[in-house]
């Protein structure tokens, strides 16, 4: 009797495995087919890449050696880029934090507010900062200011989502204990939620600071200031040795910032 039961269980396990193997096979085929279709759609072409290789080599020759004489002229734009990233990360904190408490289902005054605020956070986040920058450059003119605004808008969306997810993962029992002691909504949030979610929030803020440093280098492409603008000009004028200098500087600074951010995040948790 017991053996019969055991073999029945075994059969079930084998059948389950068979089904899951078939599912993986189907998923694999679908993804492969989609990739093929995309390669056709994007005219992905390996021979063409091979033909292009000599051109890339020639370009490389024209780029080297890098022109380091312009470094002192790049210092200004580079610092501007870092400043854009810093402002683009710190300003959104003050907007993302209250919005997150309105969006999180466990702290929202009512479900409707939560849905509406989430919608806004979603829109801010979904529009890439480059698109925000293009729109804002048209509105307020060239320079780093529209760049900062673009970062601010996108980061409010990004941080808002990180923040409300952190809030929603908080222990409901602690909030309940605060309520039971007669704490107002604000005090429940400030004492029952903040201490536990603060490390996660700081960590995601640092992540966005990192991200914004990368993003702000690109913003110059649409005329929104910083090192990206210098890079664009050098490219447009075919001053390839200067382009390389820009790239080296950007990569170097970004690596340093990633290290700083990783170090700080390690300290938090």
């Amino acid at each position: 009797m017991t053996i019969a039961v055991a073999s029945g269980v075994l059969d079930a396990v084998i059948e389950e495995r068979r089904v899951s193997r078939r599912q993986y096979a189907i998923i694999g085929m679908v993804v492969f087919a989609a990739a093929l279709w995309s390669a056709w759609g994007t005219e992905f072409n390996v021979p063409k890449l091979m033909e292009g290789l000599p051109h890339i080599y020639a370009l490389g020759e024209r780029m080297l050696p890098p022109d380091f004489s312009i470094l002192k002229d790049l210092a200004g734009p580079m610092i501007e880029t870092l400043e854009m990233a810093l402002l683009g990360t710190t300003i959104p904190i003050f907007f993302a934090l209250p919005l997150a408490f309105l969006a999180a289902v466990n702290t929202a005054p009512n479900p409707l507010v939560s849905i509406i605020v989430r919608l806004f956070i979603g829109i801010f986040r979904t529009v890439p900062e480059l698109i925000w920058a293009m729109v804002l450059v048209t509105a307020v003119g060239l320079g780093p200011f529209p760049g900062v605004l673009a970062l601010v808008l996108h980061t409010i969306g990004g941080l808002g989502k990180f923040y409300y997810e952190a809030i929603e993962s908080t222990d409901p029992g602690v909030m309940e204990a605060m309520q039971a002691a007669g704490a107002s909504r604000f005090k429940v949030i400030w004492y029952g939620v903040m201490p536990n979610v603060l490390p996660v929030m700081m960590s995601s803020t640092l992540f966005y600071w990192e991200y914004n440093n990368r993003a702000s280098t690109v913003l110059g492409l649409v005329g929104a200031g910083g090192i990206g603008l210098a890079l664009t000009h050098a490219l447009q004028d075919f001053r390839y040795p200067e382009v390389v200098t820009c790239l080296i500087l950007i990569v170097l600074i970004l690596v340093i910032i990633d290290r700083i951010s990783a170090f700080l995040r390690g300290k938090i948790i």
Binding site: D171, A177, M178, A180, A181, G182, A183, F186, K187, N196
Partner: protein, 274 residues
């Protein structure tokens, strides 16, 4: 019977019903009244509405209909602010202690004063010296004399110590009523007796009404002045422990009385001992 118990009614519940959504009500048409100093145990297996009834007593759960009066004050008639003030005098402890992990022990205890803390002080986490002193007194009374613990983070404590901190947080509210939701379910056997003794002792000295949900029959019999058993959201037994016969127990737990004791022992040995 508790000597402290007098005839003053401390908790009164009339025709209390709570339904979540459109499903069958968690509790239905319950009317009860508890005297000052009475030690009440709400008994029954989980899911019979003990937790809902308990949370209706401080309006953490708002009843669908019916009246709750604490110390003569009808909770449903209070303003938002009035309800917060009323809650300040109703202490509550929980199965999972519900401390703020990343806060110090002392800070956790002072959270019991949030109901009266000014907004500016609350914003800056700046409790007054009096609050600090009261917190230390409460901790000592809850059996945590070791001052080295006070500045440690709450999540570094053992389960028993955590429940003592939670009791101190409740004491600092100077409550008239203590609500306790399965306060010993997450503790090991040794700790259970200590925590139960502590709550009983505090309640007797201060003349506090205790309303405690439990599923351990033996503990309920040892400590309660009065046991109230719930089944399907309604009161099936209400009386002193000595009237809780095997026949009643079978009806409450839906199985023979001797089997329940066995199950309790098994459960106790398997309880998570932090």
């Amino acid at each position: 019977m508790n000597i402290e118990a007098d005839q003053t009614t401390m908790v009164e519940v009339r025709n209390l019903t709570k339904a979540y959504g459109s499903s069958a009500p968690a509790i239905e048409d319950i009317s009860l009244s508890f005297k000052k100093g009475e030690f009440i145990v709400l008994l029954g297996p989980s899911g019979v509405g003990k937790s809902t009834l308990l949370r209706c007593l401080n309006f953490l759960v708002r009843p669908t209909s019916g009246i709750v009066k604490i110390n003569g004050q009808e909770l449903g008639a209070l303003s938002k602010k009035g309800l917060l003030q009323a809650r300040h005098h109703i202490g509550m402890i929980f199965q999972e202690f519900n401390l703020v992990n990343r806060m110090s022990v002392l800070m956790n205890v002072m959270c019991g004063r949030l109901g009266t803390l000014g907004t500016w002080r609350a914003l800056t986490y700046n409790f007054s010296p009096e609050d600090h002193e009261a917190a230390v007194r409460a901790l000592v009374r809850a059996g945590l004399e070791d001052q080295e613990l006070y500045l440690r983070r709450a999540d570094t404590l053992s389960g028993g110590q955590k429940q003592r901190v939670a009791i101190a947080r409740m004491l600092i509210q100077e409550p008239k009523v203590i609500l306790a939701d399965e306060p010993i379910a997450s503790l090991d056997v040794m700790m259970r007796a200590q925590i139960m003794d502590l709550i009983k002792d505090i309640a007797q000295r201060d003349g506090l009404t205790v309303v405690m949900s439990l599923h351990q029959l033996d503990v309920a019999k040892n400590y309660a002045d009065r046991i109230i058993a719930l089944a399907q959201g309604q009161v099936t037994f209400d009386g002193p422990p000595n009237e809780l016969t095997d026949a009643v127990i079978e009806r409450v737990f839906n199985k023979p009385a001797d089997e329940i004791d066995e199950e309790q022992t098994v459960e106790i040995t398997e309880a998570p001992a932090e």
